[in-house]
């Protein structure tokens, strides 16, 4: 089937209007760009599903037990439109699951990784196109499981995205589907990461040494390594939990635990073992969810500052250090879990250390801005927003890496604030910036700047309105359907209502993005090969690039960030240009 999709597949107006041709080009695609777009579109769809779930969570926190507008009467006719506490648990569980496993990881590694890696290193395609196709296809069983789980008696898994046993073993069948979905996502990511690594190691264009690779590729490279090493551990743990649920084994269950139907499991297991194995993956996953964004942000900031990236090599080293340290800090999620307290201290020290490379990155981005000739385009605004928001997320990370402080804020809204500053305010802003930046390359047309800037402004304001006040709620436990049941939390209601209003605003703002995205796809101004005057290899080919990517053999002569180089007249210096 690889041979069948030889078309210049990416051009939207390709000639054969036969259905089968469409199927071969867009469904059984082995071209990395088509697969990247497949990941992009499915992630964006899930992004809106996950967003709806988040809004429902916010609704309950602001107006607890009130009738949910529109959906309440569809779903809870018998209870008069109120959601049940179990449904609330499902909402945040599925919100987190979808946002992490179906949105951020696939959009960063799947969509941008697929689209950009071969283009940026000068390869015609991924090393193994068919494996690449499979890695997208393995997302579909996961999608199917998750969609199906919504129709199970509990409307989906509701044990939290961390799925801590024994609770997760007590849950209904939706939990088994959830575990299966995660196994499929894991297999998909593992196939993808092996593909990326091989491509980056073996298929760089002549002259493209490792230290001439753009930061985007570096980010993807390190991410792929982390996925390759961390995911198998999660897969093993997921399979063990699945067998605890279905085969009544007891890897994570102590003696004398009766699961739902009253049958005792054999016991002998260890509850904390799941948390160790889970966080061994899920802490690196935090970096998997931000390193590619950091790479893309570095490229975009350098491009629109018209200035070389400040400290390229330290940036690379700090990414590597983050990855290395990222594997030995997982215990900071478990400070108060009953883990050995001395072990907690060693995790605390490594956690403190990991703040260092993150800090270096921030300083280097600021160094890049300093003395530049900044063009405040939409992608640039999103990326500067990324840096500013990452500072907040990183600093609250330092606060909670101190175990005594973590005693207070663990599992409270402070954590929710922190993780949304890192995952939403940083990663998603970076992703949106990257979409605005590479949209011309993907579809051959520019996105609307005015709408883009309005989108940025509203998103930026509303996200801070939603997530910043959460820092003040370090006494409000998270995952609680009705916090106002506690006398001490009753006075937090107005603040929660304010956050919910901001969250609704943020949700509505994304409609501007949707309009801009689809409008520009068809009516945007035509983009040439290099609309941003950028240096990296993907801008040397046509937009969108044809199958095979390059019309001339790219030969790399310099690093990716030679903006405003004194030796040339123009303020940019493409990597392939002969001086």
């Amino acid at each position: 089937m690889a041979e069948t999709s030889v078309e210049n597949s990416i051009t939207p107006d390709h000639k054969g209007n036969v259905v089968s041709r469409f199927v071969w080009t867009y469904v059984f695609a082995t071209d990395h760009k088509v697969i990247g777009l497949q990941f992009l579109f499915s992630s964006l769809i899930w992004f809106f599903v996950g967003g709806f779930l988040a809004l429902a969570v916010r609704w309950q926190l602001a107006w607890p037990w009130s009738d949910m507008p529109i959906f309440g009467h569809m779903l809870f006719a018998e209870s008069g439109g109120q959601m049940s506490p179990g449904f609330y648990n499902m909402l945040f569980t599925m919100h987190a699951t979808i946002m992490i496993f179906f949105v951020i990881i696939p959009i960063l590694a799947g969509a941008f990784g697929n689209y950009l890696i071969p283009l940026m290193v000068g390869a015609e395609d991924m090393a193994f196109p068919r494996l690449n196709m499979l890695s997208y296809w393995f997302m579909w069983p996961a999608f199917a499981c998750i969609i199906l789980s919504f129709f199970m008696p509990e409307y989906g898994a509701s044990a939290g995205w961390t799925s801590y046993p024994p609770l997760s073993v007590f849950q209904g069948d939706a939990q088994s589907l959830w575990l299966l979905a995660m196994v499929f996502v894991g297999v998909s990511s593992m196939m993808g990461s092996i593909n990326y690594l091989t491509t980056i190691i073996q298929m760089r264009a002549p002259g493209m040494t490792m230290f001439r690779m753009p930061m985007t590729v570096w980010g993807m490279f390190i991410t792929a390594i982390m996925q390759a090493f961390a995911l198998p551990v999660l897969t093993a743990a997921l399979l063990m939990q699945l067998s605890d649920r279905l085969l009544m084994t007891g890897f994570f269950l102590p003696e004398n635990i009766a699961v739902n139907n009253g049958v005792a499991t054999s016991g002998g297991g260890q509850v904390l073992l799941w948390q160790h194995l889970f966080w061994f993956y899920s802490h690196p996953a935090v970096y998997i969810m931000i390193l590619p964004a950091m790479g893309m942000v570095s490229d975009i900031i350098s491009c629109f500052s018209r200035k070389p990236l400040f400290g390229y090599r330290p940036m690379v080293y700090s990414i590597t250090a983050i990855a290395g340290l990222g594997f030995i800090v997982w215990g900071h999620h478990m400070f108060i879990s009953g883990m050995n307290h001395t072990l907690a201290m060693s995790f605390m020290v490594s956690t403190m250390l990991i703040a260092l490379p993150s800090g270096i990155k921030v300083f280097n981005w600021i160094g890049t801005l300093w003395g530049g000739k900044l063009q405040l385009t939409t992608p640039m605004l999103f990326c500067v927003g990324f840096v500013a928001m990452f500072v907040i997320g990183g600093l609250s990370g330092i606060v909670m890496s101190a175990p005594p402080v973590d005693i207070v804020i663990h599992d409270t809204y402070y954590i929710v604030a922190h993780l949304h500053y890192v995952l939403f305010a940083s990663s998603v802003l970076g992703v949106l910036g990257a979409i605005y930046f590479w949209f011309p390359k993907m579809f051959g047309r520019m996105m609307n700047e005015r709408l883009g800037k309005i989108h940025f402004f509203l998103t930026f304001v509303f996200l801070n309105g939603t997530f910043f006040p959460m820092h003040f709620l370090s006494r409000m436990p998270r995952r609680v359907a009705d916090p106002y049941i506690y006398e001490g939390l009753k006075d937090l209601l107005p603040l929660n209502q304010f956050m919910t209003i901001c969250a609704i605003g943020m949700g509505l703002t994304q409609l501007i993005f949707v309009a801009n995205f689809f409008g520009s796809m068809f009516f945007g101004a035509k983009a040439g090969r290099n609309p941003w005057n950028a240096n990296t290899l993907e801008w040397t080919t046509v937009s969108p690039p044809p199958h095979g990517n390059f019309d001339v053999q790219p030969v790399v002569r310099r690093g990716p960030y030679e903006y405003s180089h004194p030796e040339t007249d123009s303020d940019f210096f493409p990597q392939t240009k002969t001086s």
């Binding site: 210049n8 051009t11 091989t198 084994t249 073992l273 199958h547 790219p554 493409p574």
Partner: protein, 424 residues
Amino acid sequence: MNSKANPSNETDATNGGLDGGSHGHIELKYQPAVPVPKGKLAVWLFLSTEIMFFTALIGTYIVLRFGAPEGSWPTPGDVRVLEWLGAVNTFVLICSSVTIVFGMEAAKQNKAGKAKSWLFGTFVLGCVFLGIKAYEYNSKFEHGIHPGTPRSLLYDRADLNYLSAVKSNLDAEILSLEKEKTALVSESVVPHDHDVLDTLVLIRAGLVQWTQRTVGEAENPMMRELALESLAHQINPRTSNPRVEAYLASENADVKNQIAELMGQQETVEQDVREMQERIDVLSEQLKAEQDDARKPDIESELSAATEASKTAATKATELVDLLTPLENRVSAYEQFNGLHEGLNEHFHLKLPMVIPSGNTWANTYFLMTGFHALHVLGGLVAFMVLLMLRLDRSRAGLMENVGLYWHFVDIVWIFLFPLLYLF
């Protein structure tokens, strides 16, 4: 926007690739960082992910095994693990590693036929490995060693839950055998070989009900534990357990003494019954013979007193029999079952619940690790089957090497699993 900077012109990009079969774009040159083919690099990367997968499994094993209460982990004999069979399997895998290496060498020298026969040898050895594995699994399933509670017959300690499980298991078995027997009789087929039913009935009377009684009456918790442990020991002795054996022997002696004592009592009572009977006979003769009405009431009252006494004695006799039956059952069960070296389960091919401390955790981890290893072996066999359909000349040596790398990895995993599961 800015075309002057573009290093190339915009001509042939859009019409590239329209000429059917070929990709239609230029052949790009690369600068690989590692002097190996892409496929081999990918296999190595895949193997590093596999290392982490098995690390997680082995880590789980280590946590559960070394975190289990001191001294409770089952020995190979407890769970029917044959060390030598594991060693044979290790040998089989080592052999298969060698054969595939030779196959690859042959392919490199372009000897396709030779390569194929080496590969076929590897395939056969892999099948032998899986066959031995299947045999091992089967021998465990036969003994009720399953991962997971509903089918597993393993209990972590001899307690009341265990006793109740044995009781219900035994009752169900007896009931089904009895049903079978009735069905056979009603079909006027002579039931053959129902020794099993007799054995089960004796186990119920002489072991389970006895233990139940002992546990119910014992005041000393130590005695309760000993009674339960001795039941578990008789069903499935793990190692020689002098404490339980001494308990059983002394209990047996004690029971025999009680029987002797009761027998003595029984004789006296029987004597009484006989005497009473004689007296009644004499009295009723007297009553018949007596002509004097005035004396009749006296004899009648004497007779009724004698009848009463006889009745009491008879009751006492039956009571004694009631007391004696369990004791005698106990003694005959002891005589019949105590010498059994392998325990009831093994000797009579029964499936009664067994006490193997940490047995369930053992089964969970054992089947987890060997199961995933066996799945990997199976994957290798599938790859071999695909390879066997191809001509294995020099051009396929790289492919052979990749499959070989995977197979060696499977071998290495087994190299670690063998001591961990069989010898530790």
